[in-house]
């Protein structure tokens, strides 16, 4: 029986020592799955160069990242979060209500969102934002009336498009990629419809967010989950389906997938960098300034994050698929990060 007692007390002791964790030595990053590969690269270089303990990076999605980041100050909460869109007003207020008021916003670069098809597709695809909107939106204009999307085949939208059923695999609503797709493609496509143009100017903004932001739910648009590799596999298997995902997945699979030109521009590192490819979005990182002096290694990590080696043209984040900032913009970002300039409250 004494052995049993011993075992129980050992367990109790382990449990207690587990809860009383000593000062955190590792930096904690959360946030967007799009920023994740870039945070990984910075972290790996940071460890290799400084020999400090490995940062802990979790891919939680942009929204989930802000939830964790804004939960409070102190060792239990994340130091940095990545985002594939700017922080929202509601998230900024959540942060403030938990005492996280001093945040620095870092624009690290741009990421292209690509539409792609299998290389086995017999048709050379080229779409306009208007056509993409007509194919994938929940509601659209037909003969001057605003109706639920009736299109089932690409050829019904434009006779020059193939006579195959519309089928697109894309990210779910929880994803920052989806937000960016809606904002960059669907909204722009909606603006080109005559129905939208005919609206009074003061109604256009609300119409855009209310009526032009919904993807169709009747089959042709399939939410394929957060895993972009899964979308890649599906469109590889079905030559008539198109996929929507981050440019890095197209770059890695260029032998199997072909990028679809949007408004006449094919996605490539060059066209994303010079903004001629319209479907590119900014990527951000948010830093909790109150943690800089508390968490060991955080200042060095931030230095590595905004270093020329990482962010500049030819840096290792570019190698990984990031579209880098112009030199003068980069210099401004670096200055504001090193000076820990707090960001102002966002407008929306």
């Amino acid at each position: 029986m004494s052995n049993f007692k011993l075992a129980i007390s050992v367990l109790a002791m382990t449990a207690v020592s587990g809860t009383a964790a000593v000062a955190r030595e590792q930096i904690r990053l959360v946030g967007s799955s799009t920023v994740f590969p870039y945070s990984q690269a910075v972290a790996e270089n940071f460890v290799n160069v400084t020999g400090k303990p490995s940062p802990v990076i979790e891919s939680t999605g942009t929204g989930g990242g802000f939830k964790l980041f804004c939960a409070g100050l102190g060792e239990d909460h994340a130091d940095i979060t990545g985002a594939s869109r700017a922080i929202k007003k509601s998230e900024f207020e959540l942060c403030a209500s938990n005492g996280v008021t001093d945040i620095t916003e870092v624009l690290i670069g741009y990421d292209g969102l690509s539409l792609a098809v299998s290389r086995n597709s017999p048709f050379v695809w080229a779409l306009t934002e208007k056509q993409i909107y007509q194919a994938l939106a929940a509601e659209t204009e037909v003969n001057g009336a605003w109706v639920a999307n009736p299109y089932k085949k690409w050829s019904e939208i434009d006779p020059s498009l193939p006579d195959t059923a519309i089928l697109a695999y894309g990210p779910p609503p929880t994803s920052g990629t989806r937000d960016a797709f809606v904002e960059l493609v669907m909204h722009d496509g909606c603006k080109k419809l005559d129905y939208y143009k005919a609206l009074p100017a003061d109604q256009q903004a609300t119409f855009l967010t209310d009526s032009c932001s919904r993807m169709r739910q009747d089959g042709p648009f399939v939410e394929a989950g957060e895993n972009d590799n899964l979308i890649v596999q599906r469109i590889e298997a079905d030559p008539s389906a198109i996929g929507i995902f981050g440019y890095s997945f197209l770059y890695e699979n260029a032998d199997k997938l072909a990028g679809i030109a949007v408004d006449g521009v094919v996605p490539s590192a060059e066209t994303i960098a010079d903004f001629s490819y319209g479907v590119a979005r900014p990527l951000y990182v948010y830093i909790k300034n109150a943690h800089r002096s508390v968490i060991a290694g955080l200042p060095e990590f931030i230095e590595e994050l905004v270093s020329e080696a990482a962010l500049a043209d030819g840096g290792y984040l570019q190698e990984r698929g990031l579209t880098v900032l112009a030199p003068d913009l980069l210099a401004a970002v670096q200055a504001s990060v090193i000076a820990a300039t707090p960001m102002a409250a966002p407008a929306k």
Binding site: A7, S17, G18, T19, A21, E44, E252
Partner: protein, 415 residues
């Protein structure tokens, strides 16, 4: 006496044949599914068990590495120097760019070698380093040379340079021990399962230390001591229900209680182990009770008959005889816990870390969450590494189940 009816006999035989045929085809279907699963994993995963390496000579010039600041030397430039020397036929600028053939780790390997032996400065050192992922794919035939250049991950110049090096016999393809000994990395050629293996070990150890004594204690009390009442019936039903609760529910519970209330460290295998223990506990209780029931009452009666107390009966006679059954149940419970993913995702055990955890309280991944992470990575090299990691996980599961079968065969007593 009934008369012999040949029609009846035929019908009975036909029914028996149908039953056997159905049973056999069910088994065959299951075997086919297993074969397809393992077959597809091996087909994509076997490539990850080897890794292309290049043996290359690095001249360590005193200009790039100052003897007083060895660790801070410009090793990236040294790697480019080495590539320039290895490809003398190409223009210098082009050859230096081809240092992308070597893994990013080359500069750090070189740094470590020079730090370990500063006399290398001014001489040269030959190291065997991994090649970067696209070239590894090329060497394994996964990047096809007949793909048009524009659609290929590597251009013709890069392939030609790699072939030049291969023709000199510098390229080798040894077994990829790094897959087991390295921690995670964003570069497929450097990524390994060490962090996940250590994390899974700590989590399972915590789970075992907690669930095994608690589970056996609860089962002994319920089976041998507790009075049979409505209350013990309710407890029994609830334990059986608990065994059927989806694991994600335990993950949410852990998130709220262990992380939220007790403030335990996020992403740690210790918390993972606690969560898995909650899941494994009912399995162990049920297995232990079944093993205790299987011990014949005559053993208990004989022990009582010579004056043993009930406690002595249980701990001297019944428990030792039930132990093989208990161990089998425990190992199967732990094997189930090893493959559990959902609760670990909820407590943040899917973090990217370039080091294995030193203690159970450090952040870490586990085998299934590592598979989850790799499956979502864009680099082509992670496709085969994901399958390889699944094969490693399956190997551990098979080993644990084999141990359970061995223990049962070796120690179980039949009455």
């Amino acid at each position: 006496m009934t008369r012999f009816n040949p029609g009846l006999l035929r019908r009975r035989r036909r029914r028996e044949f149908t039953l056997r045929a159905l049973g056999f085809s069910a088994l065959a279907l299951a075997a086919l599914m297993l074969f397809l699963l393992i077959g597809s994993l091996v087909a994509t995963g076997w490539q990850a068990f080897t890794q292309t390496h290049i043996r290359i000579e690095f001249p360590v010039s005193a200009e790039r590495v100052k003897p007083e600041e060895i660790a801070r030397g410009n090793y990236r430039a040294l790697v480019q120097d080495a590539m320039q020397a290895a490809l003398p036929a190409l223009p210098a600028a082009e050859a230096r760019k081809l240092s992308s053939i070597l893994s990013n780790a080359a500069q750090f390997r070189l740094r470590d070698a020079v730090v370990a032996d500063p006399s290398l400065i001014g001489r040269s050192v030959t190291l065997t380093v991994p090649v970067s992922d696209p070239f590894d794919q090329l060497n394994k035939g996964l990047v096809l040379r007949d793909t048009p250049e524009a659609n290929r991950r590597l251009n013709n110049a890069e392939i030609a340079a790699f072939d030049t090096l291969a023709a000199q016999g510098l390229v080798s393809r040894p077994i990829n021990w790094a897959l087991l000994t390295n921690a995670d990395s964003r570069f497929p050629e450097l990524a390994g399962l060490r962090g996940a293996l250590v994390g899974s070990f700590y989590a399972l150890a915590t789970c075992f230390l907690l669930a095994f004594p608690l589970g056996i204690g609860a089962a002994i009390y319920l089976q041998e001591f507790a009075p049979k009442s409505r209350l013990s019936d309710i407890i029994e039903i609830n334990i059986n229900n608990l065994a059927a609760v989806p694991s994600v529910v335990f993950g949410l519970l852990a998130l709220a209680v262990f992380l939220g209330w007790f403030g335990m460290p996020r992403s740690s295998p210790f918390v993972g182990g606690l969560t898995l223990a909650l899941m494994t506990l009912p399995t162990i209780i049920i297995a232990t009770r079944a093993a205790l029931i299987a011990v014949p009452p005559s053993i208990r009666e004989a022990a009582m008959g010579i004056g043993a107390s009930r406690q002595q009966v249980v701990f001297h006679h019944v428990l030792p005889l039930a132990m093989p059954g208990i161990m089998t149940g425990t190992i199967i419970g732990l094997a189930q816990a090893l493959g559990e993913t959902a609760p670990l995702l909820l407590i943040g055990m899917n973090a990217f870390l370039t080091a294995a955890p030193a203690t159970p309280f450090d952040a870490s991944t586990a085998l299934p969450t590592q598979i989850f992470l790799w499956a979502d990575s864009p680099e082509r090299g992670f496709v085969s590494r994901t399958s390889a990691a699944i094969l490693v996980l399956l190997a551990f599961l098979a080993a644990m189940n084999a141990l359970a079968i061995f223990l049962r065969a070796r120690f179980e007593r039949k009455w």
